[in-house]
Structures are given as structure tokens and as C-alpha cells.
């Protein structure tokens, strides 16, 4: 009986070891693919992003250097997004896009008076806390800060009520959805992403 148990243990260890090796090999190949894709992006003197879905991390990089990094609080998705190559941001959309202040010629002269000076500028705090990013491969990413109350409820309804139905009909039409939702702890993180992620920026999602 003892021998049988020992043999079973040895067998299980061998199977687990073999499985682990296969996992390591597959991870190696994946790392190679990711680095090759990043190497292509890093060659250009342009900013790019890396969204690491497994580590729940988003980074802004240039030439292989990480300039900023954001930790996601949570992430969820509908559909089956497939990412094999570089994606490019086609459009940022939000319900209330920030508006630029238009200067009236001559008004700067009164603004010079410190007592009357009121700063009218487009700043980080004016950026939306909730918006969408659309990519060239059909991927749709919703970015938002953690919301509670009515807004949170509305988001949950959209996620569990509206999206599944849209997903169902789009799948039937042969255009399955690929929707990712990224939630951040701090609303300033979401605003910074709107500020930094300009249309045309390329990146990798893996």
C-alpha cells in the first residue's frame, strides 16, 4: 500500500514537472513574440503603450523606456478579443469632451492684472473620468474610475444588461464584440490616460 502511494506520488510529480516545462516553453515563445512586437514600436521615436492584461498594468513607453505606469484596479471584458499584432488608437469618445477656451483678442491685457486674473486653461482636472478608446482592430476599451451610487449602478446595468444583448446580435452578424473595461482606483489616472492617449498612438495588448 505504501509502495503504491509512493509510485502515485512519483507519477504525479513527473506529470506536474512535464506540464510546468511545457508552460515555461510556451511562456518563452510568448515573451519572444511580445519583445519582437515591442522592438518594432520602440524603433520609432514615438510614444506607445503596453497593456498587460495578465498583470493588470498599463504603461506609456518610448524607446523601450517606461515613462508612466498605471495599475488597474480591475478589468473585465466581453467577447473574445484577439491580439496578435500592434493596435492603433482610432478614436477617443466621451459624452462631454473637454472644450478649449477661445481667447478674445485684447482680453489678455486685463488678465495681466493679478487681482482680476482667473486662469482659463485646459488642464488635467478638466479631462473626463469615463471615456472609450476605439482601436483599429475593432477593440473597444472603456476607461473609468471606480464609481459608486447611481453612476456605478448605471455602469453595471450597461455591462450586464446592454452589452450581452449587443454581443449576442453582433456575434450573429459575424462581428463579435471585443470590449474591455479598465477601472482605476483614482479618477486622476483615468483623466491622465485621456490626456496622454492621443489618436494614432500605437500599442500592444497582451
Amino acid at each position: 500500500m505504501k509502495n503504491a502511494a509512493r509510485w502515485i506520488l512519483v507519477l504525479l510529480t513527473a506529470v506536474a514537472g512535464a506540464f510546468g516545462q511545457e508552460q515555461d516553453k510556451a511562456a518563452l515563445v510568448r515573451t519572444q513574440q511580445e519583445l519582437a512586437a515591442e522592438s518594432d514600436l520602440a524603433k520609432e521615436p514615438r510614444f506607445y503603450f503596453i497593456l498587460d492584461v495578465r498583470r493588470k498594468n498599463l504603461e506609456l513607453r518610448v524607446k523601450g523606456m517606461t515613462l508612466r505606469s498605471w495599475k488597474l484596479r480591475s478589468m473585465r471584458f466581453w467577447g473574445k478579443p484577439a491580439f496578435s499584432k500592434t493596435v492603433q488608437l482610432v478614436r477617443r469618445s466621451t459624452l462631454n469632451p473637454p472644450q478649449r477656451n477661445v481667447i478674445k483678442p485684447g482680453e489678455a491685457a486685463t488678465a495681466k492684472d493679478p487681482a482680476n486674473f482667473e486662469l482659463e486653461a485646459l488642464e488635467l482636472k478638466d479631462m473626463p473620468r469615463s471615456f472609450s478608446l476605439e482601436f483599429d482592430n475593432g477593440l473597444h476599451v472603456s476607461v473609468r474610475a471606480e464609481n459608486s451610487g447611481l453612476r456605478g449602478l448605471a455602469e453595471e446595468f450597461a455591462w450586464y444588461g446592454v452589452l450581452p444583448v449587443r454581443n449576442f446580435f453582433r456575434s450573429r452578424n459575424g462581428k463579435p464584440m471585443s470590449e474591455l473595461e479598465l477601472k482605476f482606483e483614482n479618477e486622476k489616472d483615468a483623466q491622465a490616460i485621456y490626456w496622454i492617449f492621443f489618436e494614432g498612438i500605437k500599442g500592444l495588448v497582451y
Partner: protein, 215 residues
Amino acid sequence: MWWRRLIVALLAMAYLEVLVVVGVSYFSGLKQAVVWPPKVEGAAVADKDVLRVQRNIQGLQRRIASLQPRGVYIVVDTGENRIYVKKGNEVVRQAVVSCGSGDVLQDPTGKRKWVFDTPRGEFYVKSKITNPYWVKPDWAFIEEGEPIPKNPDDRVEAGSLGDYALGFGDGFFIHGTLYTRLLGRNVTHGCVRVGDDDLKEIFKIVPLGTKIYIY
């Protein structure tokens, strides 16, 4: 009444139909969702190729590392209004700055329009100037409601750029400011304004040709 019963029955059927559609779509979505992100699986590489893949990875890592600037470089975060002088991953100096306001100015003739954003991307230090003079561009006069001077000398203004300026092209500079209380706010016409002490130190550290990354 039979028609009342019919309406109730139709409503109940419609309600059931909605439930079925939502249910089916929900579970079809779930079925797709559970297979993503894909797990690492399968023997993606043969044993004999493992070494080659490892060498490739090291080569790619070296190639990416070689793209990074040697020596010091400048990073400007226009949203947070911060400047960082870095060497590798180490921050040598950081400071609060003022970047572009994002305001728009239209020439009264309607022919020209300026957007006061700090340009984003990769640049390099093209000039280093001590006691810089500001040669006021057309928009500076239009903004103040003044006529554009015909004599170029009337455009020159001393003192407003501080003691030092680092030019990075197209009339954009990292320079000093008289409005130190506005550091940390987006208030400029596109230049990066830095406080006197920080600017002096940055000017000293940074040689001509230093890379500047603005986002």
C-alpha cells in the same frame, strides 16, 4: 374579457422572450469570456529550439535597451506639469513647471489660428541661451489687442524668459518665469516654464543635443 387576457398573455410572452434573449446572450458572452485572456498552453516550441528562443529573447532585450538615450535626458509630463531630468532610470532632478494652456486664439482677420499646446513627442536641446530675449511673435500682439509692429526691434522683450532658455525647435523653449505662483498650472503658450533655481540646475546638467520627451 378575452382581449384583456390576450394582452396579458402577449405581454408575458414578450417578457419571456426578452428574458430568453438576455439569458442566451449573457451565457454566450460568458462562454466567450472564459476563454480570454488565453492561458499559456501547449508545447509551442520543441526542446531543441528552446536555447535558440532564449538567445532571441536576450538579443531583443539588448536591441530595445540600445535604443534608450545615453547620458541624461529630459521628460516633461504636460498634464502633471512636471519636468524630470533622468539618467537611465534614475531621476537626477525634478521640478514643477507650467506647460501649454490649450487655449485657442483666432486672428481677427480669420486667416490664422493658434492652439497653445506644448508640443508632444521626441525633441532635443537645440540651443542653450543665457539671459535670453523674447522675440514676440504675431500672436503675442494679437492676444493683447495691439497692432503688429513693422520694426523687428519692437518685438524684442527682455526679462520675461528668465535667466536661461533651452530651445527645442519651432520657437519652443524651456525657460524661466516671472509668474512663479502659476507653476504647476497649464498657463503657457506652449513653452515649458521652470522656477529660477530648478532652471539654473537643469541648464547646468543638460548639454546640447539632450533628448527631450514630452507627453
